[in-house]
C-alpha cells in the first residue's frame, strides 16, 4: 500500500507512541524506584529521574535477599524460576510433540476420542483443578521439590493442538516418500518431522518459557521451604510486610530482575519466534 497523507502518518504515529508510553511508563517508574534509597518513594512525590542507590539496592537483593520478609536471596529464586521455566518448556514440548505425532500419524482405535480427551482435560487451567492436583502431589510426597513444581504443569493441550495442526499441513506424500526410502516411524520423526517443526518449536518455547516463568499460584501452594521459592511468588513475599511500609526500592529492584530473563529470551529468540508464527512455506 502506497499512501502519502502526512496528517494520517502523524496521527497513526501519535497513537502508536501514546500506546507505547502507556505500556512503558509503569516499567520506567519501577526502574526509577529501584534506584532510590528507602523512603524516597513514600514522600508522596515520586521522582522521575534515577537516584544513586541502584548498585546498593540490586546487590543487596541479589546477595542477601530480604530476610525480614522471609525471602531468600534473589539469585536463588532466579535460579529456581529458571529451572522451573526450562523444565516446563522442555517437558511440554517433548510431550506434546510426541502425542501430536501419535494422534496424527498412527491409526489406533478411538484416536479422535483420545485427542478430544487430551484437549478437553488440559484446556482447564491449573487454577480450576488446583485442589485435586495439590492433593495428588502432596500424597506423592512431592511438596517442596522441583518435580512437584513442574510435573503438574508439564502437559500442554495448546502445544499438542498446535503441533497437531502443523503436522496436518505436512503433505502425506512426505511420509510415504520416507517409508519408501526405508525410514521407520522413529526415523521419520527424527529426520523429517522434527527438523520441519524447528521454527514452531522455537516460537512455542518462548511462549512456554514465559508461561513457566510467571507461574504464581502453583509455586505459592506447593513450596513452603524457602529453598524452592520462585521469583514471582517471592516478590509477593517482599511486598507483604506486616505493620510496616513496604520497602519499595528493594521490591522494585526484585521486580526489575524478575523481568529480565523473559525479556532476554524474547530478544534473543525474536527472529525464530516471528519466523515460527508467520512461516507458511513448507
Amino acid at each position: 500500500m502506497v499512501e502519502n497523507r502526512p496528517v494520517l502518518t502523524f496521527l497513526t504515529h501519535a497513537v502508536l507512541i501514546l500506546g507505547v508510553a502507556i505500556v512503558i511508563f509503569p516499567v520506567y517508574i519501577a526502574f526509577i524506584a529501584s534506584t532510590h534509597g528507602p523512603g524516597t518513594f513514600l514522600r508522596g512525590v515520586a521522582p522521575m529521574l534515577p537516584g544513586e542507590h541502584m548498585v546498593e539496592n540490586y546487590s543487596r537483593m541479589l546477595a542477601a535477599g530480604h530476610s525480614t520478609s522471609g525471602a531468600p536471596p534473589l539469585w536463588l529464586m532466579l535460579i529456581n524460576s529458571t529451572w522451573m521455566a526450562i523444565i516446563i518448556t522442555v517437558g511440554k514440548i517433548s510431550i506434546s510433540i510426541i502425542s501430536a505425532y501419535a494422534i496424527v500419524y498412527f491409526k489406533f482405535p478411538f484416536r479422535t476420542l483420545c485427542f478430544w480427551i487430551i484437549f478437553v482435560t488440559l484446556m482447564l487451567p491449573v487454577e480450576v483443578r488446583i485442589i485435586p492436583t495439590f492433593a495428588v502431589v502432596a500424597n506423592l510426597g512431592l511438596l517442596n521439590s522441583y518435580v512437584g513444581l513442574t510435573l503438574p504443569l508439564i502437559a500442554s493441550a495448546t502445544a499438542t493442538f498446535l503441533f497437531r495442526q502443523f503436522f496436518l499441513t505436512v503433505p502425506d506424500e512426505l511420509m510415504e516418500a520416507a517409508r519408501v526410502d526405508g525410514a521407520g516411524p522413529i526415523k521419520f520423526f527424527k529426520d523429517i518431522l522434527l527438523p520441519l517443526s524447528r521454527t514452531n518449536i522455537a516460537a512455542l518455547s518462548v511462549i512456554l518459557f514465559i508461561y513457566g516463568w510467571v507461574q504464581y499460584l502453583w509455586p505459592l501452594l506447593i513450596t513452603t521451604d524457602t529453598r524452592y521459592y520462585t521469583i514471582v511468588m517471592g516478590i509477593k513475599r517482599l511486598a507483604a510486610y506486616a505493620d510496616q511500609e513496604p520497602q519499595w526500592n528493594l521490591v522494585m529492584a526484585a521486580v526489575m530482575l524478575a523481568m529480565l530473563p523473559p525479556v532476554l529470551v524474547v530478544i534473543f529468540m525474536q527472529r525464530l519466534f516471528v519466523k515460527g508464527l508467520v512461516e507458511t512455506e513448507k
Binding site: P171, E173, V180, G182
Partner: protein, 355 residues
Amino acid sequence: MARIELTGVTKVYPGNVEAIKNLNLSIADGELVVLVGPSGCGKSTLLRMIAGLETITDGTIEIGDTVVNKLEPADRDIAMVFQNYALYPHMSVRGNLEYGLKNRGTPKAEIAERVNEAARILEIEPFLERKPRQLSGGQRQRVAMGRAIVRKPKAFLFDEPLSNLDAKLRSHMRVEIRRLQRTLGTTSVYVTHDQLEAMTLADKLVVMNGGLIEQVGKPLEIYSDPQSLFVAAFMGSPGMNLIEIEQLQALGASLPDMVPANTGTIGIRPEDIVLGDAGPEHISLPGTLDAIELVGSESLVYGRADGLNKELIVRAPGIHLGEPGNRITFSIPKAALHCFDRDTGRKRVATANAA
C-alpha cells in the same frame, strides 16, 4: 529389475467400497506400463498397492519372484515418484538423494558415487547443495526422479509425475522419462490421466474404469481397435463419436452389411469423418454446423446431424471455415466404423476390412 505379477488383486475400503476388483496383470521385465483412466478408476490405488502404501484386501502382488503383500514399502525394493515430488524440504538436493541409501546402510563411497552419477544423468549437478524451495518446478521434478534412480530399485512407480508442470516442460520431461527408462531398463508403472503421456510413453497401456481393466495393449492397438465403448470414448481427444444404431435406422440411412447383428452403437473417430459428400462407401448425414475450433494445424468442427440427438465432432485437416447454422454433410466411411454390442458394450467382430 524384475517383472511384476498381479493376481486377483482386490481392494475394499471400509464401508465396502470396492476400489479394485479382482484384477490380473503381468508386467514384463523392463517394460513401461501406463495405467490410464478417469479419476476414481482405481489407477492410483493400484499403484499405491504395488508400492505398499495401501494394504491388499485380496490376491497377490509379486515383484521379481517375491510375494510382497506383507512387505513394507522399503523392503519391496521399489522407488516412487510422487505428483508433488515430496522432496524433504529441509534437506539439500544431495541430502534428498542420499536419504534412502543412508537408511539402507549403503557404504559412503558408493552413496557419493551413485548420487554423482544420478546428478550427471539428470543434469542437476549445479543444484546439489541447494534446498528444494530454491529450485524451479522442472528441477524439483528431476530431483524427484534422481531420488528414484539412485536407489537402483527393481521397479519405478510414477504417480502422475508431470501434472504439476507447464505444458512445454511436460512434453520435454515426457521424452526424458522415456529415454531414461529405456537406458536404465527398469520395470516401470506409470499412472496418468493425460492421453498424450499415456499414448507416447507406454510399452503397454492399461485402460482402467471402475476398478476394472477395460483393455490392455500397445497404445496404437488400443487407439485403433478399442474393445469397449468406454475405451472408445475415453481414448483420444476428442474421443470417438458414438451413434446409437436405432437412430441411424430411423433416419433410413443405409447401414453397411458388415455391421454385425445385435450391434447397439457404432463409433467413428473424429478424424475419419469427411465433411461434404464423399461417395457410396460412406454413410451420408446432412446436418448443421454448431461451432468450429481452429487449432491451427487442424480444425475441430462441432455439428449436429439431423435426427441424431448427439453432437458429432470432426477433426478436419487444415483450416475449415464456416458460420454456425451452416448446412453441412457428414460422410462416415463405412470401413472406419467400430461396432459395439447392444448389451455388453464390448466390441463386435469388425468385418469392416473385408468389405
